[in-house]
């Protein structure tokens, strides 16, 4: 079967049943609290001695601080977050990076490891070579180094012992809502199914073949010659479709949930995973399995 035209009456509702009661939803202008003594956090404003929501979302109270966490928003960075981003512009001594935040993030030339050692001085030649290192469209994994006064982020790609930031090679990018990414100790995973995954806190997920940790290439040369073998590719594609299924049903994404979804998807062919019914089934089964875990 090469194509299918479905009718709207067959449309699938992606919401996954959950035994938990849904949290109370606040809409902009709704009164959160009229008691005094609370501190207004993000997503709220004060009016007539009460705290009101300024975005649609759920309330989060930390001691005296009241915050509304928006259901759907652009990425709000925090220092130390792992992000995947795309270079949008090359400027004087810096790159602009699209990280799904309100403003493009900045990656300074001095925040990257250039080939030839940590402590090398950035010369004028390096400045002129910037487009050779990273050019428009290139994808990078990076860490949030700082949040500027205007809310934009500064990134760095200086790799630590076991985490390798920098330019990304062959693979695929998926974009999901940032709120669907579960914060964890590590966002770099080599999944047992045979693919590597970077869960950017900003909602950008990078799937690639397993990266050989030993490989040393300065980080800026990408191998375009070798094709990814079909078997690996199939794993990656299945992962992608499983993640999309989870994202469609708004299930938190982290290594376990993805691995579960991947296992659940095994009973279907890769193409079938594009069908809404199948996507829902994978999501429901994963949710079930996750609940068993709790």
């Amino acid at each position: 079967m090469a194509h299918s035209i479905r009718l709207a009456s067959e449309r699938v509702d992606f919401s996954v049943p959950s035994d938990k009661a849904p949290p109370q939803l606040f809409t902009p202008g709704m009164v959160i609290s009229q008691e005094s003594g609370f501190m207004r956090g993000h997503g709220t404003y004060g009016e007539d001695d009460s705290i009101k929501a300024s975005v649609a979302g759920i309330v989060d109270r930390v001691n005296k601080l009241v915050v509304i966490k928006p259901l759907k928003s652009r990425y709000n960075g925090e220092i130390g977050d792992v992000v995947v981003g795309r270079i949008t512009e090359v400027q004087q001594k810096r790159w602009k990076v699209d990280t799904n935040a309100r403003l493009d993030a900045t990656l300074f030339l001095y925040s990257v490891n250039l080939p030839g050692g940590e402590l090398r001085r950035r010369s004028v030649e390096d400045e002129q070579m910037m487009r050779k290192y990273l050019t428009e469209g290139d994808l990078i994994s990076a860490e949030v180094q700082n949040i500027n006064s205007d809310g934009s982020l500064s990134l760095h790609t200086r790799s630590l012992k076991n985490i390798k930031y920098g330019k990304l090679g062959q693979g695929m990018l998926i974009k999901v809502f940032p709120s669907l990414i579960k914060r964890q100790k590590t966002h770099f995973h080599n999944l047992p199914c045979g693919a590597s995954i970077i869960l950017g806190n900003n909602g950008f997920i990078w799937i690639s073949p397993v990266i050989n940790a030993e490989e040393e290439h300065g980080g800026f040369t990408i191998n375009l010659e070798d094709a990814v073998p079909k078997s690996v590719r199939e794993v990656m594609v299945r992962l992608r479709n499983s993640i999309n299924a989870l994202a469609a049903s708004k299930i938190l994404l982290f290594d376990t949930s993805i691995q579960y979804a991947y296992d659940q998807s095994k009973k279907y062919s890769v193409v079938e995973l594009l069908n809404p019914e199948v996507m829902l089934d994978v999501a429901v089964m994963t949710q079930h399995q996750l609940q068993m875990l709790e």
């Binding site: 035209i5 479905r6 709207a8 062959q170 990408i222 890769v270």
Partner: protein, 288 residues
Amino acid sequence: MASVLLNDAEKTFILHGVEVDLRCDGRRRGDYRPMELETDVVSTASGSARLRLANTDILVGVKTEIDVPYPENPEEGKLEFFVDCSANATPAFEGRGGEDLANEISSRLSRAYQSLPLAPLCIVPKQACWKLYVDILILECGGNFYDAISLAVKAALFNTRVPQVTGSFLDGGSVDLEVSDDPFQCWRLDITKAPVLVTLSKIGDNCVVDPTAEEETCSVASIVVAVLDSGSLTAVIKIGEGSVHEQTLIETIKTAQKIGVELNSSLMTALNQEESLGPKRQRFGFLK
């Protein structure tokens, strides 16, 4: 096209994927993404349809109005296409940003639809005829505009009801038009001569159908073929900045023709199935 920014490594990955017949979303080269169709979604239009092809979302409304025939074709009605690349789809379409693309699509559509006989739309030769305004709204773009738009247009034309109007000559040569009192007394268009468009994008040495926006960026040339139910072609259009070899061209057109015939019959099946639900069926529109 509204292009997506991709780097060489991603492009290479897509290219190799097409080579081994396993695309980035698991499809083979000849597979379409699932589509969803609903007709009669706009109550004020004479006919309408909404088609979703993965995340490409097209809404088509057909308006019927009365006009004077062209002097060169006095016994034919008029058919005009307008494409609106709304800024809903992408901010790049804001202002006049989508105008070029819109013009390109609408002119190519009207060329492909030259096969649709317009004689039934004539009310009184030289004096009055129906003019069908086909307004196409691009709500979301996820690649493969041409196929999605043509399917939606054909479905909307299928759904279109043209009121019964009779014209009679009065003294002095002026024409009196009388619309039937019964609002349900309408006739419908014969859409067997309406083509669907099939886009085949050349990526590397192979062609794929239904390219995603990412795949479109990787492709240097695409061939769009308009195919009728009968398998005849009504238009062939090349898009993209590249060129193709003559053998590729012939092969591509042949493949597209086969797919087009299948696509036509699937569309008709879907439309008839919806029709069989009766006029009181539930309209979903944008909800659920």
